[in-house]
């Protein structure tokens, strides 16, 4: 049967691997420890709960397995990783100071757990044992660098000479030459991963935009992100006024039976005072960006638009995309990517306007939002961020399952197009739909060219083409998303892509209002 070639993002997607299992177990154990009010010393028992066998299951020894779990626990508490070679009891660090309702998270968010990294070689062509040492050996003839030779009856590639053109692999009748990629580096769209002097993966934080794609792509689970569940649970336990805002990708993340109302009830049971859909903030962003687009369209008749004027609307909701565009195409980004803050921030503003003492927790599929919280204006509005995966751990720690709750009135905070945000292409469509509604009758049908890209590598290609004016007609709406297939493909998501996509669509159709302008007052 024909099998489709899968890219790095699709390969392990939706498969429940031991890597996922350990990650989720650690989060659940940490959450449980805080919920149960265990003393800080308890932390040392967690590695033994998770790696409870006497013989190794995953790596060469149980001690190494536990050492890595220990690092994961540090991350789950929001602590810094220990320098390589300086492993020690976690208890020696400031565990007690992380069990607080204050923010402890520091940059960087995405970290390589060096002890867990298997030092995968960088991308290279290698001869596998399928090589039959054939007489024709076309691999040697096609190599433009004379890098392939026959040694001991098998072909051999001189890695120093090889330029990775792939010709040898292409011509081998046995498909004996394989391209071996380094999973973390392949997943990284901004090329932030290289090797340190020992060959361990190393992240260049001047390039990293915390999209989290390396985390879910490393088959050894050697990269992890810091978490804030401990502080969130502490805030709730300390009786703070904690609110949740839940990203539009949430539908179906907790299973087909967990409706929006049930999730809301479950969150309230934990101790969140109220829950808002982030799609509400998305609506505000749409309205703002649509107005900007209307302004651009009105300018249309002017002949020479000066370089400093807005030429298109670049979406602003994906943190990683925005950071990446700002870094690599600063002028393009400065003039054209909307200044409006992300839906997360707008929703938090709504909550904080009502209750100035509110502690706002953003729940979504996204890791980059943790990074966004370091922007001063955002810090003031969004207090904590947790992913869906982390929320599951919190639910488990409280022994709460959303589906056990009674069905009630579904959430109804946002419009249909706002709820469609998390699927790639949805943001651009939303802005266009809203813009059409704002345009005067005679102009409603005019064409609004638009483009979109998902994954950072594709985003960068798109920006490059955009800068050199390769698109015809010139797009007026440019949507960028760092995660494959949009937010539903985010590193903190649980549901499979197809199911998430369908569920988001269905949930959007249930919205009372079609457009943000139907219910938000026009300022």
């Amino acid at each position: 049967m024909e099998k489709k070639d899968l890219n790095i993002f699709e390969k392990m997607r939706g498969i429940y691997t031991p890597v996922t299992e350990i990650r989720r177990k650690v989060l659940a154990a940490v959450a449980r420890m805080v919920v149960e009010d265990q003393p800080p010393r308890y932390i040392e028992y967690i590695p033994y709960q998770i790696i409870d066998k006497n013989i190794p299951t995953y790596r060469e020894s149980v001690f190494k397995e536990r050492a890595i779990v220990r690092e994961r626990i540090r991350l789950a508490f929001g602590m810094e990783l220990k320098e390589f070679g300086a492993h020690g009891p976690i208890h020696d660090d400031d565990v007690i100071n992380t069990i607080t309702d204050l923010k402890v998270l520091k940059r960087p968010i995405v970290n390589v757990i060096k002890a867990g990294c298997e030092r995968c070689p960088e991308d290279s062509y290698i001869v596998t044992n399928l090589c039959q040492g054939c007489i024709a050996h076309p691999c040697t003839s096609v190599c433009p660098k004379n890098a392939v030779s026959i040694q001991k009856g098998k072909s051999l590639i001189d890695q120093l000479k090889c330029i990775r053109c792939g010709r040898c692999a292409q011509v081998c009748p046995y498909n004996a030459i394989a391209y071996r990629e380094r999973p973390c580096a392949t997943a990284c769209g901004v090329k932030a991963i290289s090797s340190d002097e020992y060959g361990f993966a190393d992240i260049n934080y001047n390039l990293c935009v915390s999209c989290g794609m390396c985390i879910v792509s490393c088959p050894f689970g050697a990269i992890g992100e810091k978490s804030e569940i401990v502080q969130i649970i502490s805030a709730i336990k300390n009786g703070k006024r904690v609110y949740a805002e839940i990203a539009p990708a949430f539908v179906n993340q907790f299973g087909p039976l967990a409706s929006s109302a049930k999730i809301r009830s479950a969150l309230k049971e934990i101790g969140f005072l109220d829950i808002k859909e982030v799609a509400l903030g998305a609506d505000k962003v749409i309205l703002k960006e649509a107005k900007e687009l209307v302004a651009i369209l009105e300018n249309d008749n002017k002949k020479n638009i000066s370089k400093d004027e807005k030429q298109f609307i670049g979406t602003s909701c994906c943190t990683s995309w925005k950071m990446c565009a700002d870094r690599h195409f600063p002028e393009l980004a400065k003039n054209n990517i909307s200044e409006s803050f992300a839906p997360m921030v707008e929703t938090a503003r709504v909550i904080k306007e009502k209750d100035p003492d509110a502690i706002v927790v953003f729940i979504g599929p996204c890791i980059a939002k943790k990074e966004e919280c370091f922007i001063p204006e955002v810090t003031a509005l969004v207090d904590f961020v947790m992913t869906f995966e982390e929320l599951v751990a919190v639910f488990q720690a409280f022994e709460i399952d959303p589906i056990e709750f009674e069905e009630e009135e579904p959430m109804q905070d946002a419009s249909c197009i706002g709820r469609n945000f998390p699927v790639a292409g949805g943001v651009a469509q939303a802005i266009i739909k809203q813009t059409r509604a704002l345009l005067p009758e005679n102009k409603k049908d005019r064409e609004i060219p638009h483009i979109n890209a998902d994954t950072l590598a594709k985003c960068l290609t798109m920006l490059k083409k955009l800068k050199s004016g390769k698109f015809n007609p010139k797009p007026l709406v440019v949507e960028g998303m760092a995660c494959p297939f949009g937010c539903i493909g985010g590193p903190g998501s649980i549901s499979s892509l197809n199911r998430a996509k369908n569920a988001v669509k269905k949930f959007a159709e249930k919205a009372k209002n079609a457009l943000p302008s139907d219910y938000l007052k026009k300022k």
Binding site: G14, I15, Y16, E21, R24, K25, A28, F254, G255, P256, L257, A258, E389, V392, F395, Q396, E399, D401, P402, I403, E404, I494, S495, S496, N498, R499
Partner: protein, 80 residues
């Protein structure tokens, strides 16, 4: 008809249940021959990863079932 009750409790879903659901939902063969129902926590998992996901096939409980095992089992039941 094979009667399948797939646990869609939070614990089972987070620990492999999603994968089973994908298989059951996407394969025409299973859709035709099985009656698939998503059910609440079957109270078999003890809220830990060790025993989940849980699935009930023709009233028999299977714990910590993996997708390869499930496909193999269903294929056998279908051919019977």
């Amino acid at each position: 008809m094979i009667k399948i009750e797939l646990c869609c409790g939070l614990n089972c879903l987070a620990h492999g249940g999603q994968e089973l659901l994908d298989i059951l939902e996407n394969d025409e063969k299973y859709k035709k021959k099985c009656e698939i129902e998503c059910v609440n926590c079957l109270d078999e998992c003890g809220n830990t990863a060790e025993k989940s996901p849980v699935i009930k096939i023709n009233n028999k409980i299977y714990r910590r079932i993996t997708s390869d095992f499930l496909m193999d089992l269903l294929d056998r039941l279908i051919s019977e």
